[in-house]
Amino acid sequence: MANSTSTLKEIGTELTPAPPGHEHGTMTAWIQDLIFTVDHKKLGFMYLGMGWLFFIAGGILASLIRLQLAVPNNHVMDPESFNGAFTMHGTTMIFFFAMAMVFGLANYVVPLQIGARDMAFPRLNAFSFWATFFGGCFLFLSYVAGPGLYGTGAAPDASWFAIAPLTSRAFSPGNNIDYWSLGLLISGVGSITGGVNVMVTIFCYRCKGMTLYRMPLFTWLVLVTMFLVVMFMPPLSAAQIMLVLERFFGAKFFEAQAGGSPVLWQHFFWIFGHPEVYILVLPAFGVVSEVIPVFSRKPIFGYPMMVAASVMIGFISAGVWAHHMFTIGMDSFSITFFAFATFVIAIPTGIKIFNWLGTMFGGKLRFELPMLFCIAFLFQFLIAGLTGIMLGCAPFDWQLNDSYFVIAHFHYVIVGGIVFGVFAGFYYWFPKATGRMLNTRLGLWHFWVFTIGFHLTFDPQHFLGFLGMPRRIYTYQAGRGWEFLNMLSTIGAIIQGIGAILFIVNMVWSARRGKIAGDDPWDAWTLEWTTSSPPPEYNFEQLPEVRSRRPLWDLKHPEDPDWKFE
């Protein structure tokens, strides 16, 4: 078994017999394994590792942005670099951090939760990872293109949603935009093939007795997420193909001079863009739906409704996209319709919050680190959802759109919601994946520093929006009432960065020196906790058979099994 000096290389290979000709523990073997592996657990690690690397890059960009905006008329960055910085920050964080977290967690956890040995198509799985990784590298290659690294390269600089016609050759003459569209086209292939793979796995590889209605909620939410990936990432690819054809072959898709419509780009992009944010948030809901029951010592309140609400959110998310376009000059009927759809999607979302609350009521809440992050998630996602309702009310949005209020809202969703959910998932499943617990002391520091930093960064930004500060400006003049709030926000960003670094330190330290976890450190109830920590390469010696939603509860409580009551 692992001793306190076992290295990261050995974890995961301890229980696996070495294939002939491959020695354990050497660097060559390790790299070979990395490049050729098709095992969902290792690919999960690779997605997650890639995600944290890009998170650091995106975080550095965010720090530069906040430094530039700390005081008016600042000169930390010139306008071109600044435009590149926020474009790359957004693109990186969404596509190469958050998506990587989604696919990483899904890859690692889902086969274990459904009692399968691997994904449906392991080689396709590896291809999906490498396509995603290559797309991200291609995007960052832009920093050494054009005038080179010291001239801050040819980073895409037309915002993460590449607004037409700013992205046409006439207004973006270099190759900046091409790094964006081509990089994302490549990683898009990875995401879509990954989505197909996960869905086939969930439909076709569940262990005996695990009907769809007995699947853990994390798996359910991943299923809905992957459905959104499969249906709504192609519109982005289509729009990017059109942009590439326009920029390289003179096609006329969004060009006003040829009679084209820049508004069409926005429709196409947001038809992808809105489901995309649900792709990012639903797995976080899934993590929270796993952690809260275990740390409240009760089953999730209203499992059928949780499933129904998740599916409803998935479907409705396809019909709200134009709430990003309330100020473009649409007709009143369309504006009203999309405001209505946006309000409607708040209902199943609110129901989920109530169900989580209902799970906590009557329970015995243990405030371990996964639960702490879930509680912060609940407070913060509540606020995020409410500011979303404010934005959904089109007239209110006419004031708030394209201002720092929107930035505050979506960072509340993505950082306050999704990143906190990801942290909860890591504290919860890290012991399973590595056999060691994440350090509690460091974890508490991480939690408090990051939470305080998060609030200090983004709470003031709501008020910046109220005071008229628009997005995507590299500087602002004194006297607008924005100075103090911007300074607060910058200080918060620094604190937040420290919190994030603490987490990465925790991961690196605990992988070698963390407390041995054992199979089931949290006394949980889903199938992944029946394997060893870490699980063997084949996951289960014998494929399990289940009779309820909490198979491990049934085993631990033979006098009071779930299948008697479900």
């Binding site: 405001a339 919050i353 906590m360 006419w398």
Partner: protein
């Protein structure tokens, strides 16, 4: 009248007052000095703090009302849900070893409770939709009286072309608008177009924002109830100097506004003292981008300069329009506004001095 006063004091006692005023006071004082020298009898209060909860125009007031309603609803929901969450954390926390003896009752759900908490959100949504729909109609389809002024605003990278179709006046960046009255309404219809990429027009105290899209014609209206100089911004990323595509809406009393219109209609006379400057202006090809009435300068790529020195700022708000800044601009516009589309015209000092003197006659 009382209403107006109440609203104004609300504004200064609300968010606007909480933040340190020293920077604002200095800037306001400085701008006051400048503005006072630029125009006679014009209200030169610079409304730099554009708080959306301090509306000074009819449509902005309508938006303010629905915003308050939505805020109140959201605040109520927050108090209830956050309250329940706080209660749960305290009441149901694991207390000690005696809590480890057995698990709590394993409740799977309750159809009745779930139904109960689904109905209020549905009712709230219905109410919000109705209020939203009505407000959208009020803003998008207003009754415009014949007295309404009409201004055509065309967005460029990185400046605003401003045309008054009813008066045949053309200017740039600084938009003069008549004050309205609640009894005798004088709203102003803004027609928003773009010459290149998508821009956005936003002056929070006057109305919400709307985009300027090439090949499209958007409209919005404002109806200001207080004079002053309202600051605003372009809100859609349009390139490197998106941040400095600033807006100034100058709301004047009706007679001051008429006086301004008259002064804009008059073409500047040729002044023999600055003839050299005018010659330099033409021979250095400035006229290929800029228009100055009654001269050979007829370019439309850059702002109309016919009444350039009647404007308080240059470079669409990036700097005050004083001699030092103008000199810097003429030497190399990229210093004040790096990435703007006016290139360094390679003028020497003699040319700059001459052109500056000439431009100063264009009031």
């Amino acid at each position: 009248m009382l209403n107006n006063q109440y609203r104004y004091s609300l504004a200064t006692s609300g968010l606007g007052r909480r933040w340190p005023l020293s920077g604002f006071t200095l800037a306001a004082f400085g701008s006051l000095l400048l503005a006072a020298s630029a125009a006679r009898a014009q209200d030169s209060t610079i409304r730099a703090i554009q708080n959306i909860f301090d509306p000074l125009s009819a449509p902005a007031e309508t938006l303010y009302q629905i915003s308050l309603l939505v805020l109140a609803v959201c605040a109520g929901i927050f108090l209830v849900v956050a309250g329940l969450l706080t209660y749960a954390i305290i009441r149901y926390r694991h207390r000690g070893p005696e809590d480890d003896r057995e698990e709590p009752p394993q409740v799977y759900g309750s159809a009745a409770i779930e139904l109960a908490w689904t109905v209020p959100p549905i009712l709230i949504v219905v109410m919000l939709v109705l209020v939203t729909a009505r407000t959208i109609g009020e803003i998008e389809h207003p009754k415009m009286p014949d007295t309404a002024e009409e201004i055509r605003i065309i967005g460029h990278r990185f400046w605003w072309e401003v045309r008054y179709p009813k008066h045949d006046v053309v200017t740039a960046n600084e938009i003069h608008v008549p004050l309205s009255d609640r009894k005798n309404r004088v709203p102003t219809q803004l027609i928003l177009e773009s010459a290149d990429v998508i821009h956005g027009f936003w002056v929070p105290q006057l109305n919400g924002k709307k985009m300027l899209v090439p090949n499209y014609r958007n409209t919005m209206w404002i109806e200001p109830y207080a004079t002053g100089i309202y600051l605003g911004n372009c809100t859609v990323l349009c390139g490197q100097q998106h941040a400095n595509m600033l807006i100034r809406v100058i709301v004047d009393q009706p007679d001051v506004y008429q006086k301004w219109l008259e002064s804009q209609k008059k073409a500047p006379d040729a002044d023999p003292q600055t003839a050299e400057g005018q010659r330099q202006f033409i021979s250095n090809s400035c006229g290929t981008c800029h228009t100055i009435e009654n001269t050979r300068a007829t370019g439309t790529f850059g702002p109309d300069l016919t009444h350039f020195s009647s404007r308080a700022t240059l470079g669409s708000g990036v700097a005050p329009n004083d001699d030092a800044n103008l000199r810097s601009w003429l030497h190399d516009p990229q210093v004040l506004k790096p990435g703007c589309l006016m290139p360094d015209m390679q003028l020497n000092d003699r040319q700059v001095v001459a052109i500056l003197a000439y431009l100063r006659t264009l009031k």
